[in-house]
């Protein structure tokens, strides 16, 4: 079993309390950090090679160093709005080890000279939100947050803010809008949050897992952290394994571990459910491109997954077996983006709706010959044409599945039935009535 960093001791009884966390070395990193100069901590995180665990994989230390140097108030936002389909690590980290996250927030705030930090917890994750709120309250009472923290002269205020049901608020500019008390509409970038962010101040936004990793790096050093993983993808990551595997769950592994190990090793996924054949893998949450079973030996690091044609994204590894109807699975993922499109940008708002309609009619035996090209055309008209990446994300599963499994789409259209299952369609779906306008638009 490789060394665990962010999930170390995660099942230890009482770890979620201040006392339990302290017994496992909690808040020692904070004391150490407060002895250092903030800029030295930024350098340390740069040297550690830590990259953001939310999706984009941007180098964390670099992000911190980009903060505009002016006299405006700086802010930190912890993005704990975990809602990427297939991703369930931040929820676990918050429920089971909330103090680790809080310690990471305090150290990061100090390193970035922030005086007010926010932890934006997804509304649906009620227990996670309660745990983080309690941890913050305990940290205030223990003098880890507030005025003159541990006698260092450093002051920090931490506010836990709950979302209320909107995937888009995981996008950093929408998250700031939401925090400012508005609808979660993304902002145009640039300016980037590091220049003009929350309330107009320079703002650093980091994912919950990223911030939960900070205490261990500060405690054990940049070189120690960088000794895990690959040359460009340092450290470990919590991979969220779900779908058709025998043992789904969160597994922390060094970056660069092959997909095969995660999915088949007895310690982790334990193989495909019911010993079926593997059909496809989504390596980084539903926003990333689908990979075929032939990519099973790809190492799980940013570069190798990109070279294989996808993205490491949020670390949500979704496994599909041979019985999966790709068209139906893609329809399900596309419905998500249709429902979660905030409606601000026309290509995304309209495009995700029509993608869903067309996929629905293909899946339900009413597809037309030109529908596959129509899908690709709509994808092309969404990608890169909206303020934020939600629209682009909606197209990933469609374009990649057509590339890999085009014959399944064609079979649906020509045979009015699914290639893998025995699904027959004797009832015409209701989509018929309002799908007539697609070509005309």
């Amino acid at each position: 079993m490789p060394e665990l960093i962010v999930t170390k001791d995660i099942d230890a009884p009482g770890l979620d309390t201040l006392e339990g966390y302290r017994q496992h070395g909690g808040y020692e990193a904070l004391a150490k950090a407060l002895q250092s100069q903030p800029d030295d901590l930024v350098e340390m995180i740069k040297k550690s090679g830590l990259r953001g665990r939310g999706g984009a994989g941007f180098p964390t230390g670099m992000k911190w160093s980009f903060l505009a140097k002016n006299d405006k108030t700086r802010y930190l936002c912890c993005n704990a709005d975990e809602s990427e389909p297939g991703t369930f690590k931040d929820r676990m980290l918050m429920e089971k080890n909330p103090h680790q996250l809080v310690e990471g927030v305090i150290i990061t705030s100090y390193a970035c000279r922030v005086s007010v930090a926010f932890i934006y917890v997804r509304g649906e994750l009620a227990l996670a939100g309660d745990q983080v709120e309690r941890a913050v309250a305990e940290a205030y009472a223990a003098g880890y947050i507030g005025k003159n923290i541990l006698g260092s002269g450093y002051n920090l205020d931490v506010i836990v803010h709950r979302g209320a049901g909107a995937y888009i608020c995981g996008e950093e500019s929408a998250l700031m809008e939401s925090l400012e008390g508005r609808r979660g509409y993304p902002r145009l970038k640039p300016p980037f949050p590091a220049a003009i962010g929350l309330y107009g101040g320079p703002t650093v936004i980091n994912n919950a897992e990223t911030l939960s990793t900070i205490p261990a790096i500060v405690k054990n050093g940049a070189d120690w952290y960088a000794s895990f993983g690959t040359e460009k993808s340092k450290g470990t990551r919590v991979f969220c394994l779900s779908g058709h595997v025998k043992k789904p769950g969160n597994y922390e592994l060094p970056l660069g571990t092959p997909l095969r190990t995660l999915i088949y090793d007895e310690q982790y996924g334990g193989g495909i459910l019911d010993d079926k054949q593997l059909k496809a893998i989504i390596p980084g949450g539903s926003s990333t491109f689908i990979l075929g079973a032939d990519k099973i030996d790809t190492p799980l690091d940013f570069e190798a997954i990109a070279a294989a044609g996808s993205m490491l994204g949020s670390g949500g590894v979704i496994v599909m077996n041979e019985d999966t109807c790709i068209v139906d699975a893609v329809l399900r993922m596309t419905e998500f983006y249709r429902d979660e499109s905030c409606g601000k940008c026309t290509p995304c708002r309209e495009g995700t709706y029509w993608l869903t309609e067309i996929l629905h009619r293909i899946e339900h035996g009413d597809g037309r010959e030109r529908d596959i090209d129509l899908l690709l055309d709509i994808c092309d008209n969404i990608s890169g044409k909206s303020f934020c990446p939600l629209g682009d994300a909606a197209t990933s599963s469609i374009t990649s599945s057509i590339k890999l499994f085009r014959e399944e789409y064609e079979h649906h259209i020509t045979h009015n039935r699914c290639m893998v299952g025995s699904r027959q369609f004797d009832v015409k779906p209701e989509v018929e009535a309002h799908s007539l306008q697609v070509g005309a638009r």
Partner: protein, 165 residues
Amino acid sequence: MISEQAKQRMRDLASRYPVARSAVMPALYIAQQEEGYITQEALQAIAEAIGMTVDDVESVATFYTMYYQQPPGKKVIKVCTSISCYLRGCDKLVEHLEQRLGIKRSETTPDGNYTLMTTECLASCGTAPVLQVNNQFVEKVTLEMADTLVDEWDHELKTKLDLSC
């Protein structure tokens, strides 16, 4: 009725944030806790406590799906239907609950006891299929478990009713 205590909590929140209107989301939660959903009176109370217009508060309330626009059932059941739960059979679970409760998704039973909803990924994909009842997770739900749960809720709701009579 939004209590004076709730209004005071909203005002306190408004002063806790660097900018008062940041308190609108927690204030909406406070109002919903008091009344079960977002009423016209709630919008008014929040607008006054935070210093926003009623329309502005409403525009926020209607963007986020967790603020209810009408009274929900006593038990709000949300079944995740996103990809990982889909791969582990959530559609059968939804159909089963629809039959058992005698309502379709997005509906509330006539007695006001249950609202059945489908929802997007609940970050519990490793324990799919999953549902939440009044924000509490129930994981790895089988059809048998769903029946047992509904039996328990029925009993609980009936006991509450008996007590209040």
